[in-house]
């Protein structure tokens, strides 16, 4: 006990609870086939969104009136639209727009929702009541209706769609974060740092936030799907991305008039929306199961 204590024994592994938890989390996630497929699809879509536009030789807005409404062929994989624009190229360029809307709006909604949720849960009382009642009001509107109202006020553009969809994501985050905060707040280690004289900011950011990240991550993944769907919906109604931007919802809207003789115009953008939304939802489900400590392996 005397000679050996001074020296630190050689420690081969460095096992922080984070890396440890991450390992079990990955093991569980990889067992879930659907989630793995969802994750791969998301990865693929992100890659397409980032590098796709650089690989494409065609301009998504280049018109070729002579070749309009062509069905899928070797030259035009997904066919052409009513202006002769290549639908495949437009979908590749639209991927970036779609992902931008999805991620940015969830980022806005997430940050605002997390702050409101933590403040609400941590301080309680009148602040809590006030914040949560406002959230209830927002939740009372069907999502798309709320986004529609906000875009009508702000004006139709992609930026405003992101803001609108972000705002309507706020209550979902606020509620989840508030619930988790209430749970973590009661733990003794929070009392311990309070007894040491830690400020509220330190307690919230250093001790509560890191311990409620799992539900936030799951919520964010699921919310991206909803955000993409809502943004497409708004574009379809003509309130989102303005033509000639290759937004999937807008493309769907354009193709509506030609649905009978050129069904590929609506089929491909529609298919893409379904695939992406489904991928995010399935992956989110998988994440939730893998992160839930109560689930048996």
């Amino acid at each position: 006990m005397s000679t050996q204590t001074e020296k630190s024994p050689v420690i081969g592994k460095k096992s922080s609870p984070r890396s440890e938890a991450f390992k079990t989390f990955m093991k569980r996630l990889l067992k879930n086939k659907a989630a793995v497929i969802g994750g791969l699809v998301i990865l693929f879509i992100i890659l397409v969104g980032i590098i796709g536009p650089f690989l494409s030789k065609t301009d998504p807005n280049a018109q070729d009136i002579l070749n309009k409404l062509q069905p899928p062929s070797k030259d035009h994989w997904f066919g052409t639209d009513n202006f002769g624009r290549d639908i495949f190229t437009r979908i590749v360029f639209g991927t970036k727009l779609t992902l931008k809307v999805g991620f940015l709006s969830v980022l806005i909604g997430g940050v605002v929702g997390i702050v409101l949720g933590i403040v609400s849960g941590y301080y309680g009382g009148i602040i809590d009541t006030l914040i949560m009642r406002v959230m209830d009001v927002l939740l009372a509107f069907p999502g798309i209706l709320l986004a529609l109202a906000i875009v009508s006020v702000l004006g139709g553009s992609l930026t405003n769609v992101i803001i609108a969809v972000g705002i309507f994501s706020v209550p979902a985050f606020a509620r989840i974060v508030r619930g988790s905060t209430l749970q973590v707040k009661k733990l003794e280690y929070i009392d311990a740092v309070r007894a040491l004289g830690a400020s509220d900011g330190r307690i919230i950011f250093k001790h509560i936030l890191p311990n409620i990240m799992s539900p936030i991550i799951v919520q964010a993944t699921m919310r991206i799907a909803t955000a993409i769907l809502t943004a497409s919906g708004l574009a379809f109604l003509g309130l989102g991305a303005q033509p000639p931007e290759p937004e999937w919802g807008a493309m769907l809207s354009d193709g509506r008039a030609y649905m009978h003789n050129a069904s590929h115009m609506v089929m491909f953008p529609g298919m893409m929306i379904v695939i992406v939304v489904l991928a995010f939802n399935i992956f989110g489900d998988g994440l939730r199961d893998a992160l839930d400590p109560k689930m048996k392996q």
Binding site: T5, D191, A192, V193, A195, L196, G197, R202, N211
Partner: protein
């Protein structure tokens, strides 16, 4: 021995509101603490004992303002802690620390021991940053851990070791008073003894004062100088250890002491078994709170609240709150 007052609690009340109804109005209160007063002197160990829900832990939390007390004062070295702002209170937290019951819940699982102790010193600005590492290793040795364990995470320690980490955290800011809230209740008996001995050694070394909250009379008997017995948010008896264990005056204290297991199968036990449950603290009984379960209760007990008082049979600062201390001692009270 001149005793110096360190902490003086006067008329401390802690009512928790019960919200209900359509608008979430306060419909009632849980009277967890209903006006308790006591003094803790420098360097001593005062224990608070009682059943679950009698307000032991609430007392500790109210003193530290982890829960803002409803009424009363907590004077620490001349300053009333209940009157100062939250900001000023933060400075005082250096002197008043707490060790919790559950060693698994009282440490943030995402912090290494070193970062936990470093944070404590950083918050209270105890040492310049470059001297803290050495202090951390010293602290770990003080509580019986090894310096090389500083960079480990809580999940790599056993319950007893974690409790030592909790003690190290409390010690890291050089406190004067440590509130031990059931600090050994969650540990195995052998580990309990180790941790209790550690607490005693630390008391001698650093001149610490302990407010020891426990339901375990064996532990309390081992560590205390003075003992406070609580029942349903009130103090029923307060005395030094020997007086309380050898000359208990309040019927509740007597019942409580009779429940201590005796490690002798042939010992004749005069167990006083109390009937019924502890009444609800939402609507505590009028008069003496113990009258619903007291074998000696009279009409006076049901209407008039007894105050803490000393009788000729008690030595020193021994006080009990019962109308019939003398009569019970003389055996003239009739048991129901």
């Amino acid at each position: 021995m001149a005793k110096k007052e360190l902490l003086k609690v006067e008329g401390l009340k802690q009512y928790f509101p019960i919200k209900g109804g359509f608008l979430g109005r306060t419909v009632n209160h849980v009277k967890a603490l209903d006006g308790i007063s006591f003094t803790v002197y420098e360097g001593e160990t005062v224990s608070i004992v009682g059943e679950s829900g009698c307000g032991k832990s609430t007392t500790g939390r109210a003193i530290l303002r982890l829960e803002e007390p409803t009424e009363g004062s907590v004077t620490f070295q001349g300053t009333d802690l209940t009157k100062i702002s939250t900001r000023e209170m933060r400075k005082f937290r250096k002197d008043l620390q707490i060790i919790f019951q559950d060693p698994y819940a009282s440490i943030n699982p995402r912090q290494t021991v070193a970062s936990l102790l470093n944070e404590a010193m950083h918050i209270q600005n105890v040492l310049p940053a470059n001297e803290r590492r050495a202090r951390i290793e010293e602290l770990l040795e003080t509580v019986g851990l090894r310096p090389y364990q500083a960079d480990r995470y809580p999940h790599e320690f056993s319950g007893g070791q974690r409790q030592r980490i909790g003690i190290a955290r409390a010690l890291s800011v050089d406190p004067k008073l440590i509130i031990c809230d059931e600090a050994v209740s969650a540990l195995d008996v052998s580990i309990q003894a180790q941790v209790l001995n550690l607490l005693e050694e630390l008391q001698d070394e650093y001149g610490l004062t302990y407010l020891f909250i426990s339901h375990d009379l064996g532990v309390v008997r081992h560590i205390s100088d003075r003992i406070i017995v609580m029942y349903l948010g009130k103090i029923v008896e307060i005395a030094d250890k020997t007086s309380l264990f050898e000359n208990p005056q309040h019927p509740y204290t007597k019942a409580l002491l009779s429940a201590i297991p005796v490690p002798d199968p042939d010992a004749v036990k005069n167990r006083i078994v109390l009937k019924g449950d502890v009444p609800s603290p939402i609507d505590p009984p009028a008069g003496c709170r113990f009258h619903t379960r007291c074998p000696f209760a009279t009409d006076k007990c049901r209407t008039e609240e007894p105050l803490l008082r000393t009788t000729s049979a008690m030595k020193g600062e021994h006080e009990a709150a019962c109308h019939y201390i003398e009569e019970i001692a003389a055996g003239t009270m009739i048991e129901k």
